[in-house]
């Protein structure tokens, strides 16, 4: 049962990571990255690593995500009209 959960979580991690890189809009990519970070927090919990889970939530997903959102906002502020060019 727990293995099935682990496999599911692994798949979700890989999917969110893939979408982070592949989704065309950078804003959505950052959101997906934060989702990835939260999923990773779960993974750390599953690995008996509560310290990392805390740090991942606070730093990996939280602060890094905020930094990224801030950067996206700054980039948008300069160019309000056009979408990000295809990467």
């Amino acid at each position: 049962m727990s293995t099935a959960f682990d496999l599911l979580l692994a798949a979700a991690l890989l999917w969110s990571a893939w979408r982070t890189l592949a989704t065309p809009q950078i804003g959505r990519a950052v959101i997906l990255f934060i989702v990835f970070g939260l999923l990773l927090t779960l993974a750390w919990a599953r690995l008996d690593a509560p310290d990392i889970a805390l740090a991942e939530a606070a730093i990996g997903a939280g602060l890094t995500g905020a930094l990224l959102l801030d950067a996206v906002a700054a980039l948008r502020a300069r160019r309000p009209d056009d979408e990000e060019g295809q990467s």
Partner: protein
Amino acid sequence: MKALWRSLTVVALLGLAAALLVAVLGLPPAPVKLAGEVATNLGASGVSHPVTAVLLNFRGYDTFLEVAVLIIALLGMLAAGLPPPPPTGSRNAMLPTLARLAVPLMVLAAVYLLWAGAFRPGGAFQAAAVLAAAAVLLHLAEILAPWPRDRRGPRLAIAGGFLLFLAIAAALLANGGLLRYPPEHAGLLIVLIESGLTVSLAVNLAAFFLLRADKT
């Protein structure tokens, strides 16, 4: 030509992924088990939580250098040129209220995390991250103004925690090694270092958001 290179890269990466999977899934057990060593020496480490013991005692030297990495990132920002401050007045009207409610709770949580680190999950890093998040929240709510580059306070806080760590590391040389705690004082020294670090790291992390170019 470029497309060819890209496809070659993709093929190489797929090969790497396959090789890594094969290697990882078929790996025999490791000959050295550090978890046991940690458990054996936990008593002399001054803390009862093994991760904290590794982080601040057994491999405290890593942590010491890592704090420098954070300061370097900040210096790199200063060197490259700080981003402009965000435009004011566009904030959500709810934010200040939310911040006033949440921030005291976050500070409380941080203090708990710091204190808990000695014997259960938590510690300086997590506490600092929560404090930094609180600062960011205050900043977004426009309660906390951006820091100009030459502001003294943040520098003092960041450098202070690290210098405390450095001073203890150096003083312990007298005991025969960098950060070689005498077991009887290890707990106290670690708490001292962690408290300093919490402030230092929190301000450092917050500075990534708050340190902004002066308005001209």
